[in-house]
Point group: C2
Chain length 408, copies 2
C-alpha cells in the first residue's frame, strides 16, 4: 500500500497550469507507490482547511484532455506566502497534522516565485522533523521570470496569443488610408518576456510590432517620439508593444506616475489613470498628431486556451509528470525546470533544481536580447522564443465553444 | 472577350471580409465572361484615385486560403459615404469615366450599411445613364445589424471569439476564493447581437455570462445592482457582458454620460472616462464591495482570425461567390443575403435583396430574444446563434504565427 499524493496550484492563472496538474495526476495514477490523489482547493489555504477533492476521476483520456485545455487553475489558487518557521511554527505543525491525517507522502505545488518559496520552506521543515514527505515545485508563470529553468510553463501559450494578437491588430490598424498608431499593453510587472513576444509576429517580409517597450529599459517619451516620427516617414501605421511594467528613470511605474495621477482624479475621487497604454496614448497625443488607440490585453493573454501553444501544453504536462518521477526517486525541495539540450533542434529535458536558488528571484530579459536603441529585440531573442510557440493545440469544442471542466 | 471586374471593401474591418473578397475573386476567375480582376484600394476612394491592384495572382489554392484567413480588409477600407446624385453629379461622372477607362462591367462592394447605400446609389446612376455596369453589395459587419439577411458575414467569427473569451475569462475570474466580478465590454453601438453572443459561452451545466446588458434595453444601475446581489448569494464570481452601446433612459451612451464626463477631466484636460465597462465598474464600486475588473475586447473581437468560425468563413466565401453569379445573371443594385432554409438542420441559401430595403436601416435584437428582466437572452437567441459559431477553422500557421497576406 502506497502513500497518498496531494497537489495544489498557486499564484496567477495561466493557460497551461492545468496541463501540469494533469501531468501530476497521470504520474500518480501510473505509479503503484501512490494510492489516493488529492487536490487542495485554493493552494495552501485548502490544506489548512482540509478542503480536498479526489482527482482519481481523471483516470480517463477524455477527462485528462479536457483538463489539459481548461484555462486558469482547476483547483483554484491563492496568493498566500508561507511565513518562516521562526515566525509561525504553528502553521507548519498544522500542515504536518493534515498530511498525517490524509497519509500524504508526496506534495506537488504548481506555481511561481512565491510558490517555490513555499516548497523550499515546507521541504526544509519536513526534513527538520525527520518526515519523509517529499515536496516538489512545478513552475508556472506567463511572465517567464523564474531562474534556472530555460522558460516557464504557461509562457509559450501567452507569448503565442500576444504575437498572433499583435499581428491581427496590426492588420486591423492598417485598414484606413491614414496614419494610425495602436498601443498594445501587455502583462509583466518586472520582466519584459511577454511583451518581447510581440516581436514573434514579425517575419522576414514584414514587421508587425514596430516598437517594443520593456520594463528592463527606462521609459523615455522623447526617444519613443523620435522613433515614431522616423518610422512614420516610410510606414503609415505602427504598432507599439508596451509592457504594463515600464518605469520612468526614477523607477516609477508609468501607470502610477504620481505627477500624472494627482491630476487625474475622477468624479468619484478615484485615481483613474488607466494602465500604461492609456498613459502612453495621452503622452503621445500631446506630441504626435495621428489617430491613436490603446488596447489592454488584460486577462485574455493568460487564459486564451483556444489559441494555446501545443509545445507549451505538452511540456507543461510533461513537467508535472516528471515531477512525480523525481519525487518517487527521492527528490524533495526542488523545482523541476526545463533544460534546453545543446543541439541544433529544439529539445527539452526536465531536471530538478534546488529551490534555494529559485525562490524569490526574478529573471529579466538580458541585454543581449534587447536592441541597442532599447526599443526592439535581437535575433538572440527570436532564436530563444520561436520554438516555444510552435504547434497547433487542437482544442476540443462543443458547438464551437471550448470544452472545459470545473470542480463539482 | 469579357468585361473586367472591380471589387472594393468598405466600413469597419472584420475577420471574414477577406473570405468574401476571395469568393468574388474565385467567381471572377471561374467565369469566361470576366477578364481582368481589379481591387480598389480603400473602397470608393481607390476608384476616384484609380488606385487598383491586380487580383489575378490569387488563382492559386494556397494564396486563396491565406487570403481567406487574413483578418481586416486586404484592399483597405474607407468610411466615405457617397453623396446623392443631386448633391454631387460630378463624383458619379468621375466614377463612370474610371469604369469606362478600365472597362469595368461588374462592381462588387463588400461592406455594411453605408456601403449598401453606395451600391444603391451607384446602381441607380448606372441605370439612369443606360450603362449595363452591374453593381452588387456583399454584406459584412460584426454587428449583425443589417436587415433582410438572416445574419451577416463576420458576425459568426466575432461572436465565437466573444463567447470563448467570456468562458475563458470566467475561468480566470474564479481562480481565487473570493467574490469577484469581471465586466467584459463588447462592441456594438446600436445593436446588441455581439454582446448577446456572450451567452453562447453558457451550457446546460453552467453559466459563464451571468448578466448581459444590451443597447436595446435602457441601462438601469439599480436593477443591475439588485441582480448582482441576488446572484452573489449562490455564486461567488460573476461575469457581466456589457455592450459599449448601452444607453441611459435619456438615450445618453453610458460611456458619454456628461454628468460623469464633466467630473473626469484628466491632467491633460482630456475627457478620460474610458468606455462603458470602466464606467460600470466605477458605478458598481460605489454600490458593491467586491473585487472588480473591466476588460475591453477592443479591436481583438473583429480580427481574431486564429479562432474564427469555420461556418462564418465558409459562408463569407460563398456569399462573395454567389454575388458574382447573380451579377452574371443580370442582377444589379442588390445585396446578397443569407436565407435560412426552413428545415430542422441549419442550411443557408444566398439570395439577392433590393438595396432600397437594406441601406441605412438597422436590425436590433428583437424583444423575444431578450429575457423579461432585460439582462439575459432567451432560448430563441440560442437557437438562432448557435449554428453560426460552429466549425473549427484550421488556421495555416508558420512558426506558430497565423500566415496572412498584405498588398505589395
Amino acid at each position: 500500500m502506497g502513500k497518498n499524493l496531494l497537489v495544489g496550484q498557486s499564484g496567477g492563472p495561466t493557460t497551461a497550469i492545468n496541463a501540469s496538474l494533469a501531468g501530476v495526476i497521470c504520474g500518480g495514477i501510473q505509479s503503484d507507490k501512490i494510492d489516493k490523489i488529492y487536490g487542495a482547493r485554493y493552494g495552501v489555504e485548502g490544506i489548512l482547511k482540509e478542503s480536498f477533492v479526489d482527482l482519481k476521476d481523471f483516470n480517463d483520456e477524455f477527462n485528462i484532455m479536457v483538463l489539459k485545455q481548461t484555462p486558469s487553475a482547476y483547483l483554484g489558487s491563492c496568493r498566500k506566502k508561507l511565513p518562516s518557521y521562526e515566525e509561525d511554527k504553528e502553521i507548519y505543525e498544522h500542515i504536518k497534522r493534515v498530511f498525517e491525517k490524509y497519509d500524504i507522502g508526496y506534495f506537488f505545488y504548481i506555481g511561481g516565485n512565491d510558490s517555490m518559496d513555499t516548497v523550499n520552506k515546507l521541504s526544509k521543515y519536513f526534513k527538520k522533523v525527520n518526515s519523509d514527505v517529499r515536496v516538489i515545485g512545478i513552475p508556472k508563470t506567463i511572465d517567464n521570470d523564474l531562474c534556472l529553468t530555460d522558460h516557464t510553463p504557461g509562457y509559450g501559450s501567452a507569448a503565442k496569443f500576444v504575437a498572433n494578437t499583435v499581428k491581427q491588430v496590426a492588420h486591423d490598424n492598417r485598414v484606413y488610408d491614414m496614419p494610425s498608431i495602436t498601443i498594445v499593453e501587455i502583462m509583466g510587472r518586472h520582466a519584459g518576456w511577454l511583451t518581447a513576444a510581440a516581436a514573434l509576429a514579425n517575419n522576414d517580409e514584414e514587421k508587425y510590432a514596430d516598437i517594443i517597450c520593456l520594463p528592463e529599459i527606462p521609459f523615455d517619451i522623447d526617444k519613443i517620439t523620435d522613433k515614431i516620427n522616423e518610422l512614420l516617414k516610410t510606414k503609415k501605421q505602427l504598432v507599439i508593444a508596451l509592457s504594463e511594467g515600464v518605469k520612468t528613470k526614477d523607477g516609477v511605474l508609468l501607470c502610477e506616475d504620481t505627477s500624472l495621477k494627482e491630476a487625474a482624479k475622477d468624479g468619484f475621487n478615484h485615481a483613474q489613470l488607466g494602465g500604461a497604454g492609456k498613459t502612453l496614448e495621452m503622452l503621445l497625443k500631446e506630441r504626435i498628431n495621428v489617430k491613436m488607440r490603446a488596447i489592454e490585453l488584460s486577462t485574455l493573454q493568460r487564459c486564451a486556451a483556444t489559441s494555446a501553444s501545443r509545445t507549451d501544453i505538452d511540456e507543461s504536462f510533461a513537467i508535472g509528470n516528471a515531477g512525480v518521477e523525481y519525487a518517487l526517486s527521492g527528490e524533495t525541495g526542488v523545482m523541476i525546470g526545463y533544460v534546453r539540450k545543446d543541439s541544433d533542434s529544439y529539445e527539452i529535458e526536465y531536471k530538478p533544481f534546488d529551490t534555494d536558488k529559485v525562490a524569490n528571484l526574478e529573471k529579466q530579459v538580458p541585454c543581449d536580447m534587447i536592441s541597442d536603441d532599447g526599443m526592439d529585440v535581437t535575433e538572440k531573442f527570436y532564436d530563444y522564443a520561436k520554438p516555444l510557440i510552435t504547434g497547433i493545440q487542437n482544442v476540443y469544442a462543443e458547438n464551437g465553444i471550448i470544452k472545459t471542466v470545473t470542480v463539482k
